[in-house]
Symmetry: C2
Subunit: 412 residues, 2 copies
Amino acid sequence: MLQAALRSGAAHRRAVFEVFARHLPGGRRYGVVAGTGRVLDELDGFRFGEEELTYLRENQVVDDATLAFLADYRFSGNICGYREGDLYFPASPIMVVEGTFAEAVLLETIALSILNHDCAIASAASRMANAAGARPLIEMGSRRTHERAAVAAARAAYIAGFASTSNLMAGRLYGVPTAGTAAHAFTLLHDSERAAFEAQIATLGPETTLLVDTYDVAEAVRTAVELAGPKLGAVRIDSGDLAAAAQEVREQLDSLGAFNTRILVTSDLDEYAIAALAAAPVDGYGVGTSLVTGSGVPTAALVYKLVARETATGKLEPVAKRSVGKPSRGGRKDAYRLMDEAGHADTELITTGGVAPEGGIPLLHELVRDGVVVGREPVSAARARHAQAVATLPQDALHLGRGYAAIPTEFA
Amino acid sequence: MLQAALRSGAAHRRAVFEVFARHLPGGRRYGVVAGTGRVLDELDGFRFGEEELTYLRENQVVDDATLAFLADYRFSGNICGYREGDLYFPASPIMVVEGTFAEAVLLETIALSILNHDCAIASAASRMANAAGARPLIEMGSRRTHERAAVAAARAAYIAGFASTSNLMAGRLYGVPTAGTAAHAFTLLHDSERAAFEAQIATLGPETTLLVDTYDVAEAVRTAVELAGPKLGAVRIDSGDLAAAAQEVREQLDSLGAFNTRILVTSDLDEYAIAALAAAPVDGYGVGTSLVTGSGVPTAALVYKLVARETATGKLEPVAKRSVGKPSRGGRKDAYRLMDEAGHADTELITTGGVAPEGGIPLLHELVRDGVVVGREPVSAARARHAQAVATLPQDALHLGRGYAAIPTEFA
């Protein structure tokens, strides 16, 4: 594409690409914007180095003119987008990339890869956080997804309401709080469960979390409180009927005077399992597989479409394909969220006219100006924004069942 | 865990960890081993550098003794495993890691992350390859998954039978053949579809693949053959009823004398959609989303479990947890595939006794000896092995419906 467009000359035409979702897969009620900060991080280093150019040359992937273009490549255009942590709905233009066709088209894969992954994880995480209410969620899914995706998943989950992650690289790179517990291997390594608990308490203190389901839960809880005393921080249950087990363990802990010892549950939890445990005496959830795989929706169905391009006469003109079932809507857009009198989100308004609706909250913000990143912000800001945004949704948007988008998208 | 085990002294006990799947998720009939080579690549660089140590120290994640251990960390143990491209079944010990507890437990996350991702993708890809038969599959899913997972997915898909990938980094890093087509944006960029086709043919020749569904398929095909002549390489259809569209386009191409112009179809294909197109005049498939998300099974459910450890008296002893519904099977294992008289796979035999069954094919091969990687091989070897392994399966193992493992796992 790039080579042909360079040769035809069209590569240098001004172009506007838009990232949006035609629908919210899995019957989700809203999407969560995540990954924007990672796109900006990647953009800074998005260059073609010697290794890449040598590969392309030696394998004759592109011609010399294209190689020369790539050697000098750096994005010099503008990007605006929804802020990270905000919500999105069908057709919301969550990122708008403007530059020459050549420089903007090269960003398609990196922008979509990051946004499709991170938005999918954050959208699942937000549902889990809604289901968990005030109880904290620990992200523990690193072992169930690609090693780098794991770090991004921990970041996205934190934005969408998780309290912490067991992924230390996410702690180091993004400041996500970290937490963890022992595995069964730690207990099995020692000559007895008692010896394992003693070793853990000796180094981490009685406030630690002990894993109690390696052999017999009741016996493990008895040993745990005997060794750590009533100041034992928490116990983790990772198998069985979690609601029943939590109830039994709570009664046992209370009978042993360990009233403040918390109960953490893990074991293939998703938002439905978390909701089903709402009445159980559970103090926190560790979530792995279903978080990092988007709980049934591992990718956000976001696309990157050309919506306007310069004509031969230098005018920016809307364009749209007409493919059956997959049409696109031409023209550069603005987006606003309209609120009702009670302060709840009411409508996602997409405009092409450039006139801002009265009282509408503008959703597009400047991220990159003339190739320079201007929209960077800490992950904590995205996390705070998400909590605020979810609070503006109508109550029924938080139901876990499949449904339509929580608010309608309208075009003006 | 590490800190407590270092303090209790148990960290230095010899330990054996095993990677296996308790079941094949999604009713799959067999799993495909992929990622082994990536685990070996990562192992070479698996160190804790200044940045990591500073983070751990400043955030008081671990104590000084643990920091000192991590600063000197390098794996010095042994790893054996199934070879990449081979098949696996429930309980198959696809990787066995032996070292001190401390050095082996640190590999859990990286080993599982890689294997859970890559095996999931390869297992889905193998089903798609079976469904496609002799027709080539192009991997085109980079935009639908995490940016690094995309590269690993292209590698896994190639091992499991895909012909090529649109991910150029997979080409550069792993030698996967690359292929690609133009996007709708390329057509929209130009003043007309004709101008776009002319530009593409001018630089890539008539053997290129033209995308024909941006506006009107029949008109696009007419224009394409008019411009490229009957030597036009291929057309791509990306929307609509693909079987019907392929039939119409085939008839049109033939009527225009373009008998050898191939038809490539794309548009949310999975193994079922591919199978449903078997009777349609399709010459190749481009597969994206469903490949990189494991076609409904985004993670392989592999676990990393301690199966043996040194006792206080220096003896290696089997260990197993007894958690409800998630028991493990203690002891270091060997694995063999037993074949029937016709040369078909018959039984996956897992032994702990050390005696090889007569005629059984040994499945565990040495990968790392005393910390040094000895089992590296080119991706092409894994690809060839997979083709051979699939050919040994009983015919019904290739059915796409949900079912049990294609051959039983037995323990001796």
